[in-house]
């Protein structure tokens, strides 16, 4: 569009605009108008994102307790941070979280990508099965956590029944056993979120043009080479994106696990979010919890940034 077209278009638009509005708006410069349009967003962002973040950082240096509003709030410097990083319990919860994030990602990647490869063959009814597979993802995590407590019942639950149909383990107490509980939450999350990886993988697979495979076929590539040289590199950015999203989500996983095990037995499934919630809203150690939240935020933010750099390199 040439400059003249643009001005004439602007003139036309000005003429088409009802007179009073036009008069009011015309008094403003373009810059002022731009600020006017984005200010609601900026105000909201400041009010519900930026301010709480800064306030949390401030609180993390104090001994503030939200349930004792009349108490003197004292600046205690880095003491909250020292206590958290020096606590063996906290490192234990971080390990539990790492176990959860790592295994959910590994299993979901393998299953999601594998299912995507199957679905992508476009057999009869493949779109029906895609929809069926997507259902768990659409449920509420709290609901999923709650009903899996029934599925996991050692005596009456269907999970134990099915596993025992393959091999006679006896009743499996998935939630009550110290050994099994960390895997119980991994299984439920995998059941729920594998479809998500499947969807993104499918998007990646569908974006690969046929002629690449045909060219490879002419070049005498075998099925494995086609997968390794075409399919995998083309889907990899999609998979990495899926892992980024799911990894962040699972690092701060709360609702599903809170309903399913509430961190137990003992603290074998106590993810950092559960610890954080307890510190903040059960012990009411607001300053301490704020410091913990800041540490988690920095961790996720830092890892996320490193990961995005790697992702961009893969994309190139």
């Amino acid at each position: 569009m040439t400059a003249r077209d643009r001005t004439s278009l602007a003139q036309k638009a000005a003429r088409a605009t009802p007179e009073p509005v036009a008069r009011r708006i015309r008094g403003l410069s373009d810059r002022a108008l731009a600020w006017l349009f984005i200010s609601p967003t900026i105000i909201l962002l400041l009010a519900i994102n930026i301010f709480p973040l800064i306030w949390t950082i401030y609180l993390s240096f104090t001994n503030y307790h939200a349930n004792r509003p009349n108490m003197n709030v004292r600046w205690i410097g880095l003491r909250n941070y020292q206590r958290i990083l020096g606590s063996e319990d906290i490192w234990g919860y971080l390990q539990v979280t790492a176990h959860f994030v790592f295994w959910t990602m590994v299993l979901q990647l393998l299953l999601g990508f594998g299912l995507a490869l199957l679905i992508n063959r476009n057999f009869r009814g493949s779109s029906f099965w895609t929809t069926v597979i997507l259902i768990p993802m659409m449920l509420s995590p709290a609901v999923v956590g709650t009903f899996w407590t029934y599925l996991y019942q050692p005596q009456t639950g269907i999970f134990s029944y099915i596993v025992n149909a393959f091999y006679d383990f006896g009743p499996l107490d998935m939630i009550g056993s110290v050994k099994l509980a960390p895997w119980a939450i991994v299984i439920v999350d995998t059941w729920m979120w594998t479809p998500y990886i499947l969807l993104l993988s499918l998007a990646g697979l569908r974006s690969i043009p046929d002629y690449l495979y045909e060219a490879a076929e002419i070049d005498r590539a075998n099925a494995w080479q086609k997968f390794w040289h075409i399919t995998f590199p083309r889907v990899l950015p999609f998979l990495m994106l899926a892992v980024l999203f799911r990894g962040i989500e699972n690092f701060k996983m709360f609702d599903m696990v809170a309903e399913l095990t509430s961190g137990g037995p003992g603290s074998t499934t106590e993810l950092v979010s559960i610890t954080l919630k307890r510190a903040a809203f059960e012990s009411w150690k607001t300053g301490y919890a704020s410091a913990f939240a800041v540490i988690l935020f920095v961790t996720v933010f830092g890892l996320g940034n490193i990961y995005v750099k790697a992702l961009n390199r893969v994309k190139r």
Binding site: Y211, A215, E217, I218, Q225, P233
Partner: protein, 342 residues
Amino acid sequence: MSELRLENLRKTFGAIAAVDDLSLRVADGEFVVLLGPTGAGKTTTLRLAAGLENPDAGAVFIGGREVTGLTPAERDVAFVFQQYSLYPHYTVFDNLAFPLRAPGRKWPEERIRSRVEEIAAMLDMEHKLQNRATQLSGGEMQRVSIGRALVRAPNLFLMDEPLSSLDAKLRESMRVELKRIQRDLGATILYVTHDQLEAMTLADRIGILEDGKLVQVGAPREIYENPVSVHAARRLGSPPMNILPPQALGLPDLPPAAAQIGIRPEDVELGGDSGIVARVESLEHLGASMVAGLGFGNERLHVLLDDSQRLRRGQQITFTLNREKIICFDSQGRRIDAPPAA
């Protein structure tokens, strides 16, 4: 020997016959171009030859051996796609080496290196061997695609509009390069395009396709001068042959079945006292030559002239047709041979 022979090939997609009873022979070392509009079945023919599609009927022979039903790999053909089918995350070197590293070939790395360098030199790409495929320009990518076809010296090259995604200037230089490479290697090539200029300049023989049928096969000059149908006539030449109703021209002694006559733009002469009166409606200067669009009655006619003629738009002018060059077609668009002199 690596001649290609297609015998009575037929391929349908649903109710549509993309290729209909097509037979064609490409001799060893010959460059044959299939020319036709979109949807004429050019690409399908090529894919049938490559083994990327299987025919519903008919047979494919390469080097005298029947290959119908064999996979592309077993046919040992090279295929250059319209889109640059490169592995984007690999370097130029790895892209060129890929066919040589395929299982069953197992060349030693050293031999691969020298072969790839040889091909890169031929394509003028030696200095780019370490570049990633995504860092190349469109012309370079297509050169690498062609290089990937050349690198393993296959029996037969199949090319599906390999130059169509390049800009005009690059297309011209690639055309020259392709012809040179084909001559140097003595390669057998079946090439598909809708660009008549590519067909004219590259082909030893051209096959004109229409609705899945091969309507004419011959040397470019031969088809240009003796087209068998209106369709074949208008496929070659730019501007295309003028097709006119004979009554508009008042031509005597035409065969009675002649429903249309064709005359090439260069076979019309302007001036003279006895010609048909027309008005100059458009002028296109092409450098050394120019194209004038003439209007007379309800008809239009293109004339190719050298640039020395001084014409103005709107000017009245007379023209005559070179009688020897008039070609008559019947109402189906088929050629009618001129009647014996009475």
